[in-house]
């Protein structure tokens, strides 16, 4: 039998999978998919400080990730360089600070995370965050598409590019943060990256693409939890979920490229 805390964890993971599929699809089209893997490291200094002073590491991580995202946005506006490049700079700096700050024995947990039973409060906070992510993507879907297709055409259609970019970056970071909660910094980006890439191979228009990404993401997450529960009780579901989504991607290679 599962405790309520475990059920909360599974429900949140499944909803997160939907959010990760959606955000990943847009990150892929923005050509910043790999950034989801590194942006999580921007949380590390906060996690380190939290370990040092003994408060909730997620809170510390959230704070530096939020500040880091604003910094990335500002830098990109100021320099005119690609978002990806700015994430690279901020990520490398944060990683160094985080590694220096975080006590050695806690570093592994910070990097790889652990799936834990959730308190009702953590569950509710997670649900609100995930629903917010899904809402933002749904609400700004058309604007994002136009800005990807042609920024100047989007601007001429009265899309405010700077603001839109900030919303997307914050959503992107929030997704990675929620992923951090149960997958750890190294794997948090995986559900953003792999299902979207798989979905992109399977679909040729945008609604099919979004749907396929979410489907792959949810299927990998449910299978991952199921297999862990049934066959590998000593494993953390995070890596299993990622391995299964990688297998889905491998299967998608069977589809011929047109």
């Amino acid at each position: 039998m599962h405790s309520p805390g475990e059920i909360y964890g599974i429900v949140l993971a499944l909803l997160f999978a939907v959010a990760a599929g959606l955000v990943g699809s847009f990150a892929l089209m923005k050509r910043m998919l790999l950034a989801s893997d590194v942006i999580s490291h921007v949380a590390l200094p906060g996690i380190g400080v939290a370990f040092l002073f003994g408060f909730n590491p997620l809170l510390g991580g959230a704070a530096t990730l939020f500040l880091g995202t604003l910094l990335i946005w500002q830098l990109q506006k100021k320099t005119g360089l690609a978002t990806e490049a700015m994430i690279g700079v901020v990520f490398a700096g944060s990683l160094a600070i985080g590694a220096a700050l975080t006590p050695q024995e806690d570093l592994v947990e910070a990097l790889f995370g652990r799936f834990q039973a959730l308190s009702l409060f953590a569950f509710l906070v997670g649900i609100v965050a995930v629903l917010l992510i899904i809402f933002v993507i749904y609400r700004f879907k058309e604007q994002l598409l136009l800005s990807l297709f042609s920024p100047e055409l989007a601007a001429a259609t009265s899309v405010r590019l700077n603001r839109l970019n900030l919303y997307f970056l914050l959503t992107f970071s929030l997704t990675v943060l929620v992923g951090l909660r149960f997958m750890g910094a190294l794997l948090a980006g995986a559900l953003v990256i792999i299902p979207a890439t798989t979905g992109r191979r399977l679909a040729s228009n945008v609604s099919h693409f979004l749907f396929a990404s979410c489907l792959v993401s949810v299927a990998a997450t449910s299978l991952g939890f199921l297999i862990t529960a049934v066959a590998l009780p000593r494993f953390s579901p995070g890596p299993i979920v990622v391995i299964i989504s990688t297998l889905f991607f491998a299967l998608s290679l069977l589809k011929k490229t047109r």
Partner: protein, 244 residues
């Protein structure tokens, strides 16, 4: 704010656009009347696209750009400025604009019809369209929201001659049928000669503004471009018969 000439759709006064300390457009003045087809010509780097972007308020500028009240702008960007690798059907792209403008869904089909975009193309990926088809998609996109002014940037770059002619004739037909004002950036001077009602040449050395007959003379062109481009006055004599 300066009041625009009563009748004009657009009045530009002392327009200056600079990037850092490089001035691209300096002290430009011109007016556009309703229903005109203004061709904007000039050598590379003269600021043609920059002018369009300033007119669309996408760039900071100095001076006055005054559109008549009730002006609705449609913009057809250069097709190379668009990412065609995205997994988008034509209907996704057009639907996105219809959604943002809160237009009913059938508006997309209606507008595609006006442009002559075949219905089956709506369910086609933008990446597999021919250059001419893609240009029609961009024009359809611009026409959503029922603009009365179209700003068109190099609509025929990378099209073969037949497709080029098709696009220009389409734009001309739209202008006449829907009483549009058209501002068109073009490299193709014979086309400009055929379709434009006014010509604006952007050139640091010698900017000019006037009817095609006044402006498109080898003499003026020699000043506008450093060398005379492949354009001869003989088009003058039988241009109307060329594309009958």
């Amino acid at each position: 704010m300066t009041t625009a000439n009563e009748a004009s759709v657009l009045s530009v006064q002392r327009l200056t656009v600079s990037f850092g300390d490089r001035t691209v457009i300096a002290d430009l003045n011109f007016e556009v009347m309703p229903g005109q087809n203004l061709a904007i010509v000039g050598p590379n780097g003269a600021g043609k696209t920059v002018l369009l972007r300033a007119l669309l308020n996408l760039l900071p500028y100095e001076g006055v750009i005054q559109w008549a009240a009730g002006t609705r702008l449609g913009y057809v960007p250069q097709s190379i400025a668009a990412d065609r690798q995205l997994p988008l059907f034509v209907s996704d792209l057009l639907g996105a604009k219809a959604h943002l403008l809160k237009l009913p869904a059938e508006k997309v089909r209606e507008t595609a019809d006006i442009v002559g975009l075949a219905p089956d193309l709506l369910a086609t990926r933008i990446g597999v369209l021919s250059g001419g088809q893609f240009q029609k998609v961009l024009i359809t996109f611009a026409l959503l929201g029922d603009p009365n002014v179209l700003l068109v940037d190099e609509p025929t770059a990378s099209l073969d001659e037949l497709a080029q002619e098709h696009v220009y004739e389409l734009l001309e037909k739209l202008r006449l049928d829907r009483n549009l004002t058209v501002l068109l950036v073009s490299h193709d001077l014979s086309v400009v000669y055929q379709f434009a009602t006014k010509v604006l040449c952007l050139s640091k050395a010698s900017p000019c503004f006037g009817s095609p007959r006044e402006v498109l003379t080898p003499d003026t062109l020699a000043k506008v471009y450093s060398a005379v481009p492949k354009f001869y006055q003989h088009v003058h004599d039988h241009h109307s018969a060329d594309h009958a």
